[in-house]
Amino acid sequence: MTLKECYAAMEGDYEEALSRLRSERLMKKFVLKFLDDPSYELLCTSVGAKDGKEAFRAAHTIKGICQNLSLTRLYQSSNVLAEALRAGWNEEARPLIDEVEKDYRQTTEAIRVLKASEDGGNQ
């Protein structure tokens, strides 16, 4: 799988990211790194604890990273969630969290496929 195909699977904007970051090597490095980013985990635990402040911060961080990497789909849902949580915890955020979860799955699954083909290709 190429990075471009991966972006298509994630519903991200490959061209836009490349025009800003200027290097496919860097882009790939960061996209792969996204799997290790702890923000999503933080989002899940703080949602479990109904900690609005931490949940906001986690959503805000995910949004920031996605924005930088042009992971458009996940950016959009995390952006909506962050805005909903800005004022603190509220139950209306629930469906938005489900959205983020769905998009996060889609994104990380695509990255894992990319990673697998990378690792395979290197051997």
Partner: protein, 685 residues
């Protein structure tokens, strides 16, 4: 690798590791990147590296301390003046952007990052700051040099006038200082004359030339020891006109504010408020305020100085003469200004020389500091050290604390000047642990105990505190001694000495004791008050292991009758009587408190299963009821126990209150256990 050491340091602050590494990758080739994942770490890094950091990239939303908080710390510590900050933000709300700019942010980088833009912004900001620093230094240096030169010229010129006059070399300096002081005071006193700081400085500088016209007066008249004849005096008076003419005829600088100011002062510094001065007989505020002030300063200094024709008057006499109108009439506002300042003028004049020197020196230092990239590190360090030393001695002189420093090798204690004075010891004492004078200021027991405490200090916990008495000015005072043990900075980490201070806490100790008494007790009965009782109960319940507690609330029945029929004083005595009975009937570990007008609370501990608490309550109840001076003391009481009512203050109190209510309902003059009524409640429901 050598090049790497010279890279400029760049601090990236962002809680997301991803975001930090994206930025680091964009910039890492040219800069040494330091990363921080929250505001607290950022502040620690800046604290450590100071201006070695060329730029900070700062995120807004972060845990621990957010970007705005970092900015306000940077403002407080004035780092923002030397270290540029670029904010990383997706914030589009203009209020936040404005807030960031107001806090000194230089630029914004918005997400998503564009590699070229990030790079360009960082490079530009660093260059801009470096250039600005250099320029500020240059400008400062030039202004300083220019001002210094013109001050030198004015000093020379006025010295020539003076030496011809036979006046002391201090006259011009005094006029300058007096003018400045009076103007500053006047501006604080009234808003009638609007004068900025720079205008005040201008007038003060111009004042130096007020007598320049005396150059045109023949020396015989100028220095005549006796009284001047009328003709001679008429000639003498023309020095005002001559001075003004010299200034006016000068071919250059006619539009310069300083020149115009000098003209006014030369011409009109002998005018008087009532119009009886010379040369033009101006009246009231027709006389420019600069000339009015210089006139007053001139008169004051003339009176307090010795002249060929007179001795010097004392400060008090001079002020009295001026206020009495013996030297002509001045602006009443200036008179009240002089009156208000009379107490301090002398002292200020005496300090003038030294202070002004210091001020100029300071300016020079500041100028050089701003130029600091041209200085070598060691020179800068010395300058900073000197600055620190000045700051330290200033604060030490204000603090009214004993401040000391002890070094192990050689064994020596150094005291601040004020401290040495208080302790009646020299500022430096060698081998203090064997010095009789030192050992007579502090008890031997305290010396050995303080030594023990100090030996327990560690590198992690270098600070110790110890309270003891010291002999100050022949009197024993309670002092709170705070010391910091110092270890050498090298690998050996040897104990090298102590710095410390001692604060007089004698008064505080007395005050604390009374305050504590007042805060805990009810003024009338001496029992604990409600606030304290509540705290006590809460603390006891928190510590509770296996023991049980009972809380009783009691109320005097018909107490209103006692007040109504026998008066409030009698009522108070009844309350005191009940308080006394309570005090005597409870055991030493229990407490009794007055929690309202005629409401009391008892809180007691009992260990075994509920059996004996009823006996204890019975005994207390019996000991309180009775008569006081024929007034029947009847009480209603409600009791709640932790066994039954719960173990928080709130639960106990509300249960005891319910029981008290039940006792009243049942006809007063009895007590009731919540345990009993609760059973009834449960039966009913």
């Amino acid at each position: 690798m050598a090049a790497a050491a010279e890279k400029q340091k760049l601090l990236i602050v962002d809680d997301s590791e991803m975001n930090r590494s994206i930025l680091a990758d964009m910039l890492g080739d040219e800069y040494e990147i330091i990363e921080a994942e929250n505001g607290v770490q950022a502040v620690t890094v800046i604290q450590k590296y100071g201006t070695e950091i060329s730029l900070v990239l700062l995120d807004i939303v972060m845990p621990e301390m957010d970007g705005f908080e970092v900015l306000s710390v940077m403002n407080q510590r004035r780092w923002i003046e030397d270290i540029p900050v670029i904010m990383i933000s997706a914030e589009r709300r203009s209020s936040r952007v404005e807030q960031a700019y107001a806090l000194g942010v230089t630029d914004f980088i918005s997400r998503p990052f564009d590699a070229v833009i990030v790079h360009r912004r960082v490079v530009n900001t660093i260059l801009l700051y470096a250039k600005q620093k250099k320029l500020v230094g240059l400008v400062e240096e030039q202004i300083y040099e220019k001002e210094r030169q013109s001050n030198v010229m004015i000093d020379i010129l006025s010295h020539i006038v003076e030496s011809r006059n036979g006046e002391s070399g201090l006259h011009v300096l005094h006029i300058h200082t007096l003018t400045e002081l009076m103007l500053e005071h006047l501006v604080r006193m009234t808003d009638k004359y609007v004068l900025s700081r720079s205008e005040i400085a201008l007038i003060s500088t111009a004042s130096a030339l007020h007598d320049i016209g005396k150059m045109a007066i023949p020396e015989e008249i100028l220095n005549k020891p006796g009284r001047l004849t009328d003709e001679e005096f008429a000639i003498m008076k023309t020095h005002t006109i001559h001075g003004a003419a010299m200034i006016q005829d000068s071919p250059v600088h006619q539009d310069d504010p300083l020149v115009r100011m000098v003209y006014c002062i030369c011409r009109w510094h002998h005018e008087r408020y009532d119009g009886r001065g010379y040369p033009d007989g101006l009246k009231g505020d027709e006389i420019p305020i600069c000339a009015q002030i210089v006139a007053l300063a001139d008169v004051y200094d003339a009176l307090t100085s010795e002249r060929v024709y007179k001795k010097a008057f004392s400060h008090e006499k001079a002020v009295e003469m001026i206020l009495n109108g013996e030297c002509g009439v001045f602006n009443p506002l200036l008179m009240s200004c002089l009156k208000e300042m009379a107490g301090t003028i002398q002292e200020e004049l005496r300090q003038t020389g030294a202070v002004r020197m210091q001020k100029q020196e300071m300016r020079h230092v500041v100028g050089e500091m701003l130029n600091h990239d041209e200085l070598s590190a060691s020179e800068r360090t010395l300058m900073l050290l000197e600055h620190e030393r000045m700051k330290y001695s200033f604060f030490a002189s204000l603090s009214k604390e004993i401040q000391f420093e002890y070094t192990v090798s050689p064994p020596m204690v150094t005291l601040s000047a004020w401290s040495a004075d208080q302790l009646e010891l020299p500022e430096v004492v060698m081998d203090p642990m064997h010095d009789k004078r030192v050992l007579s200021r502090i008890e031997a027991d305290d010396v050995s105990e303080l030594t023990d405490v100090l030996h327990r200090a560690t590198i992690e916990n270098p600070r110790v505190e110890y309270d003891c008495q010291l002999l100050l000015g022949g009197e024993k005072r309670w002092m709170n001694i705070i010391c910091q043990v110092i270890w050498s900075g090298d690998e050996l980490q040897q104990y090298t000495g102590i710095i410390g201070k001692a604060v007089d806490i004698s008064e505080m100790r007395v005050k604390m004791d009374t305050l504590q008494q007042m805060a805990q007790h009810d003024g009338l009965t001496g029992l604990f008050n409600r606030t304290y009782a509540k705290q006590w109960v809460k603390d006891s319940l928190k510590r509770r292991m296996e023991s049980q507690f009972a809380m009783a609330i009691l109320d005097l029945d018909f107490f209103k009758h006692a007040n109504d029929h026998y008066g409030h004083l009698f009522g108070d005595r009844v309350l005191m009587y009940v308080a006394d009975q309570l005090r005597h009937s409870i055991r030493s570990g229990d407490i009794a408190a007055r929690i309202g007008g005629d409401e009391f609370l008892i809180f007691l501990e009992y260990s075994a299963q509920g059996a004996d608490i009823r006996a204890i309550i019975q005994r207390i109840y019996n000991s309180i009821k009775g008569t006081y001076e024929e007034f029947p003391v009847s009480i209603s009481m409600g009791i709640a126990t932790t066994e039954c009512a719960g173990s928080s203050y709130k639960e106990l109190f509300s249960a005891a209150d319910k029981a008290l209510y039940a006792a009243k309902e049942a006809g007063r003059g009895r007590y009731c256990f919540y345990d009993d009524i609760r059973e009834k409640e449960e039966e009913q429901s």
